[in-house]
């Protein structure tokens, strides 16, 4: 346990904080930790209080459970309530609320919802219950997606016919890009995710320094890992460097896990769009089963309600441009479609009708509605 003690060594922590304070001087820095695991470490160990006040850690989108939009949870519940279905899911997802409650409540109402530890457990349930349809609710970033890939390869090898996957796997790079593209947030650098990077490696983050001019350091999960990574970010900035660095080299290799990446490529393809809770629709940010695995795709086998899910038809820019409808009459206006995460062209340009209305007109209209005035404008 010697190594553990070294990573919790208060003297080492104090030395790092002193070095960070010195490098930061009086300048203000905002660094985003992308991964929910890092957020946990930061709160768990009170790192935000230990760091100098001029260094702010911003929490990122790296919690795969948190980013699943309500529409997908509704679809999951719909699937779970179909006749002769056993719906399998990680425990985390059981309590995520959809618009009609959670999977836990669906289970209480009689749906056969089972929590499993591994997708391979779900496959086992399918093999043990040949007269039932078994659906696996797949969520997670690239950390978890390879496990689904292996399970699908195995299902195909074994010729299992009563097993499908409701795929909600998301990828880490597009939300980082969306955040960097957002005009609202000025960030000075990123703490890159640790366990996602065991799969994808460090190369996918190169665009962060190369295109956006921001440093990124892939970080481990110990408190000293976080502090060391913050120090590495500041050192880059003070040295005039801007690159991808790996603080978590004892687990993460530069090239990631080529075998896991090959399995992802064998089974999945990118979706054109995927809705993220809080971030809206982000293009090419999620995975679906490719044609070779279509027989295992729950979205093909079942006609789910699919409300507010990656449906470009929801965007009514055409009608807005033609004057057929007003911006606020579009179903996704101001909800899925905002200037930060536009779906259509009218919301992209600041001069577009939707963006202008979103930024300036919306509040007036809401106020007018509140006091019962006509709202034709």
């Amino acid at each position: 346990m010697k190594f553990v003690d070294e990573f919790r060594d208060p003297a080492a922590g104090r030395a790092l904080v002193a070095a960070i304070t010195e490098l930061a001087r009086d300048d203000e820095f905002k660094f985003m930790e992308v991964c929910g695991g890092h957020t946990h470490t930061i709160y768990r160990h009170g790192l935000e209080h230990i760091l100098p006040k001029n260094i702010e850690l911003i929490h990122g989108p790296g919690c795969p459970v948190c980013v699943i939009p309500m529409g997908r949870v509704d679809d999951a519940m719909w699937l779970a309530e179909q006749p002769d279905v056993i719906f399998t899911t990680f425990g985390d997802m059981m309590r995520v609320p959809g618009s009609r409650g959670s999977l836990l409540e669906a289970k209480a109402r009689g749906a056969d919802v089972r929590f499993i530890y591994s997708p391979l457990d779900a496959l086992r349930v399918a093999i043990d219950n040949p007269d039932k349809q078994v659906i696996y609710f797949a969520v997670g970033f690239e950390t978890t997606a390879p496990s689904t890939a292996v399970t699908l390869v195995r299902a195909k090898e074994l010729g299992v016919k009563n097993f499908t996957v409701f795929c909600n796997h998301v990828t880490i790079v597009p939300p980082i890009k969306a955040i960097l593209d957002s005009p609202d947030l000025r960030l000075d650098g990123f703490l890159g995710p640790g366990h996602v990077s065991t799969v994808v490696g460090n190369r996918p983050y190169r665009f962060v320094p190369e295109v956006y001019g921001k440093p990124i350091v892939v970080a481990g999960f110990e408190p000293l890992d976080i502090l060391a990574s913050v120090h590495m970010l500041l050192a880059q900035i003070r040295d005039g460097r801007c690159e991808v660095e790996n603080q978590y080299g004892r687990v993460v290799k530069d090239e990631g896990n080529p075998q896991a990446l090959a399995l992802l490529a064998e089974v999945f393809e990118l979706r054109p769009h995927f809705e993220w809770r809080g971030l809206g629709f982000i293009s090419q940010s999620a995975l679906k089963l490719n044609d070779d695995y279509a027989e295992f795709d729950a979205e093909i086998r079942y006609r789910m309600p699919g409300l507010r899910v990656a449906d470009p038809k929801a965007c009514q820019c055409g009608e807005v441009l033609k004057g057929v409808i007003k911006p606020w009459e579009c179903k996704v206006f101001g909800t899925a479609c905002t200037p930060e995460t536009p779906i259509g062209t009218c919301m992209v340009s600041p001069e577009g009708a939707c963006a202008a209305y979103y930024n300036f007109g919306r509040l007036h209209r809401e106020t007018a509605l509140l006091v019962g005035q006509p709202t034709t404008r």
Binding site: C35, Y117, L120, R124, S147, G194, V196, V252
Partner: protein, 90 residues
Amino acid sequence: MCLGIPGQVVQIVDADNHLAKVDVSGVQRTISVRLLAAEGIAQGDWVLVHVGFAMAKIDQEEADLTLEAVKQMGQAYYDEIEAFDSTAII
């Protein structure tokens, strides 16, 4: 969600199907080592286990470190061990 918990390989159960038995905090269950097939996994190796899969080979020190960190998570650690205990991978 991206929780990785260290386990030590105690037995290669089925080499063709890349299945190995690992010990996580005294609980022994079968997991898939298919993602590390190229590296090769042997009895005695330490691996980072995530949803029933070995994600990365780690050394003893990293294993101790990570296990300590995960134990610090309290309830999340017990939930993970309980979930691991329930697995029935074939």
